[in-house]
Amino acid sequence: MGIFSYLRSTILSKVVMAVTGAILVLYLIIHTAGNLLIYFGRDTLNSYSAFLHSLGPILWIFRVVLIVSVVLHIITSIKLKFENWNAKPTGYALKHYLKARFSSRTMIWTGIMIFAFVLYHLLHFTFRVTNPQHYSAEFFQMHNAVSTVILERFDVYKMVVLGFKNPLISLVYIVGVIIVGFHLDHAIQSMFQTLGFNEKHYFPTLQNLSTILSIIIVICLISIPISIMSGLVGGEI
């Protein structure tokens, strides 16, 4: 079993779900903040992207941590879900939920949909397979004390604007992000509970903050395709 021996324990499995989930949520917050740079114009977004690419091996450390988190998160969730189905072979003819919310009852389904969405998202923007025509380099001038050089970098700004000018791509993205929001609504507060942070005097606040953070992330992300489609951003391309 080796590294996967934690799967034998129900609580350790939950802890792995919580910790890998926390890493992914932190990544999503940074990713969202980075995306918002589009509102500061072409140069800001493209130089941020160039900065990320210049990190080289450090960028790969982040990527490996993310990939490992995603793999563990998925493997553990599938194992937990099968055990849970097995533990309740017969449901009730009439079931009345008291506290379980729509977001908490649909975690496995939103999770699967997010996986499909992220695959498409990576093919679109990271591997640039689905819309290669949107990708081009940008030439820009760099000045220093003695000379001016012309350098080349990814034109992320143009790629995003051209991508989101397509209503279908924007729609898929908006729906995908909203599904992410539902997943996070349950996930963030659940992470604290699993890791043992639940005292009656602060947990209700934590649950509300979890929902608020999910909504903020969703609004920030879907504002980008909406701004592009309405011409507020990227009208010049």
């Binding site: 129900t10 609580i11 849970n84 003819a93 008291l98």
Partner: protein, 257 residues
């Protein structure tokens, strides 16, 4: 008042169960839910039919024997109330009531509405002992317990082990029950010496019994007739992690008598 009952009938553990419908016309609203079922059973016996098997003991809400999932909620829709303390005045004339056994693989059906909850007993046994001297009652102030800790321990100790948490949980997880049992010792000085091995042993036994995993739906807390808080599950998760990280072994075999 009149009610229509849809009751799960199942001859034995192996038989295939089904719902049967009964109409009761002479229900008095001051009857408890179980008294209403008694009336039904009296009638079935007079008609020469098999009465409905259901569990009950103290009928005052403290023993944990009564069960029943009533209209999709363990112990019915009245919060913080066991089935025996649920009265027919909480229903309306002409109501249709669905009565099912507690559903979980770890709670196999014995007959009709009676399920085998001895998995809980084995979890309690796995928890083992606490180190206190037997004999004369000790001097009350020899071990000082802060008031808040005593209150919290008592909140956890309210658990009557009825299994409503498992029945309510879509995953049939027993985390709330086990957490309550772990927590009521964890908050007291008497519970400290065996604290780590207790949580490890009880969680391991819980898994062996085939209960599901906690997915933080909090249905258990909502259904619990004693309103045990899911914050005890967080405490158990913390204790379990600490015990695992410290490399504690739980000595499950030597604790069982």
């Amino acid at each position: 008042m009149k009610v229509t009952l849809h009751i799960w009938r199942q001859k034995n553990a192996k038989a295939k169960g089904r719902f049967e419908t009964y109409h009761l016309d002479d229900v008095i609203e001051d009857m408890s839910f179980l008294e209403m079922l008694d009336v039904l059973n009296e009638r079935l016996i007079l008609e020469g039919k098999e009465p409905v098997a259901f569990e009950h003991d103290c009928r005052e809400g403290i023993c944990g024997a009564c069960s029943l999932t009533i209209n999709g909620i363990p112990h019915g829709h009245e919060p913080a109330t066991t089935t025996c303390q649920l009265h027919m005045r909480k229903f309306k004339d002409g109501d249709e009531i669905w009565i099912e056994p507690f559903r979980a693989r770890a709670f196999p059906i014995i007959k009709d509405l009676v399920v085998d909850r001895s998995a809980f007993d084995r979890i309690i046994q796995a928890g083992g002992f606490i180190s206190v001297n037997a004999g004369q009652a000790p001097e009350a102030n020899s071990i000082i317990v802060p008031k808040d800790d005593a209150e919290t321990a008592m909140d956890a100790a309210q658990c009557i082990g009825c299994g409503a948490c498992v029945a309510a949980c879509p995953n049939a997880s027993a985390m709330l029950f086990v957490a309550a049992k772990v927590a009521h010792f964890a908050y007291l000085p008497q519970g400290q010496p065996e604290r780590k091995r207790r949580v490890l042993a009880m969680v391991e036994q819980m898994q062996k019994e085939g209960f599901g995993n906690c997915t933080n739906f909090y249905e258990c807390e909502a259904a619990c007739p004693k309103q045990i808080s899911v914050s005890f599950i967080a405490l158990m998760n913390r204790d379990y992690l600490k015990a695992t990280c410290s490399g504690e072994k739980h000595l499950l075999q030597t604790q069982q008598v």
